[in-house]
Amino acid sequence: MIKKISENIWEIEKEKDMRVPGRIFASEKLFEKIKSDKTIEQVKNVAKLPGIVRESIAMSDAHQGYGFCVGGVAAFDVETGIISPGGIGYDINCGVRLLSTNLSKEKFLKKRALVLNEIYKKIPSGVGEESKTIFSEKEINEILEKGSHWALERKMATKKDIENTEDNGKIEGADARKVSQRAKARGRKQIGTLGAGNHFIEIQEVENIFNAEIAKKFKTDKKERIVVMIHTGSRGLGHQTASDYIMKMEKTYGFEHLPDRELAYAPINSELGKDYRSAMAAAANFAFANRQIITHHIREAFKKFFPESKVSVVYDIAHNIAKFEEFKINGKKKILCVHRKGATRSFGKNRKEIPKEYRKTGCPIFIPGSMGTESYVLAGTEKAREISFASTPHGAGRVLSRNYAKQTLSAEKIRKALSEKNIMIKAGSEKGLVEEAPEAYKDVNEVVKVGQELGIATLVTRLKPVAVVKG
């Protein structure tokens, strides 16, 4: 039984072996879409896992995933709970980074094609595209344990870049020895690459400002100012780490008791649970370093054509990760292991985990739209801590299957539509272009509106694409 308990909040009542109820944050319109695939069944399955606290959650952009839905949030008790690679996603620390620049749109447009080509040339995208440098195992191990700090040592990052990255670009407890040789072999060739699928680099302009005070702090307070959004993750290294640990957890703990085999898990404090935590942190560090190296190349590309340009990191935030965070449950403070799979952390003012300069505003949150549509900058809130384990959506969320998109949309039409909006595009493949067409996604405006109405994020700025690099 599902009932609407208030505006934008739906409750899936506890039934059979569910340990907690399910909760979906969505408008009527988005809820209709959520009902059309297996999202609700997956929210129920997660509610059956040991040690889950309060409720199993799906965000307004949720769609069917494997095991957990994409857009899923679940918090587990550290003593009795579990950690599950399926609750984090194959692309560990897939996330979004926003760079601000001192360039106006007018100025940028004069050299747009040059900058775009330079970025496309420097940052391999698409499939089978290898990094210009193939790293040794020793170097990979350093990247896994140092994250963005590895890039800092090699002058590919500034101290400020590091300060403005979640966890300072390095999650503690990362252990390269817990990442398999197979995963490292996949990672060696892919550091500094964008990858295919929904990953992108988008050059955008500040289009609308909703909260001038916070926008100023987030360096997005001038209309038509150029910013750059990067969406990518830990590439093959992360995917392989997830597969490796799913297989290990099945072997150790079996799968017969699972509602879905993809929900393989280990108790948080078991040996295997600890190993996965160290491996996940290492893969997350790889993703931070990856986005940092990409930042370095973007900075150089801008410098080449605009020597006066200044490119700085606004923030870098994960949306596929498990974090240990403090929450009040039944009046008591507790550390919980919060799984966010396709959900972004929303921390309000004064949280010690966020950079000093954002402690008066709440942490920056980036919600990319689909290709060619607007993206949003938001700020974290205290309300999110109360109702959604400090989480908010991560994007528009797919609605059309890739198959259906391919059958009904054409690359030519999409190119035309983008050029009518004056958006320049470089794509690795026609197929990618079609599969990632705006029509294949939910309406990002609606997703953001629900978040704002619920108070789990504060609207700050809307960004409009000017040029896009797709894998």
Binding site: H63, Q64, Y66, A185, K189, A196, G236, H239, I246, R261
Partner: protein, 135 residues
């Protein structure tokens, strides 16, 4: 009857394949995977790789085989286009035939195999397998 079909899935690739037994259905899953990766471009295989997978749990074996195929694309630039499967008492002896990724203009990426919606169903003279790949 079709050997394999791509089914609708919101975010990923879902494949249904059929064969006269488990090995043949699995072969067809691999053919479908190859069609996706190579964007249906057919090139005669010029390389081969051998491996052996434990014959303990069939789903684990499917997951393990697909994991290997994905790994080979990323690490050895090897695209599988054909497969031979020999069943022994405790192991499956597998030979993969294929080409270098460099022979293709571009290929599609697969991030990982998944157990999501994985099913094996046996009928009198046939076997059907469904898998979802994270792309």
């Amino acid at each position: 009857m079709k050997k394999y079909i791509f089914l609708d899935h919101t975010a990923d690739i879902k494949i249904w394949a059929s064969g006269k037994n488990f090995e043949e259905a699995l072969k067809n899953i691999v053919l479908a995977t190859s069609e996706y990766v190579t964007k249906s471009k057919k090139i005669k295989p010029s390389q081969k790789k051998s491996l052996s997978l434990e014959n303990k749990d069939e789903k684990e074996m499917i997951y393990g085989l697909l994991d290997e195929i994905i790994y080979l694309i990323d690490v050895e630039n090897f695209v599988t286009t054909k497969i031979q499967i020999k069943k022994q008492e405790k192991h499956f002896i597998i030979t993969l035939f294929g080409n270098s990724t460099k022979k293709y203009v571009s290929i599609n990426q697969i991030k990982a195999p998944t157990y999501s919606e994985m099913s094996i169903s046996r009928k009198k003279d046939s076997c059907e397998i469904t898998v979802v790949l994270d792309v």
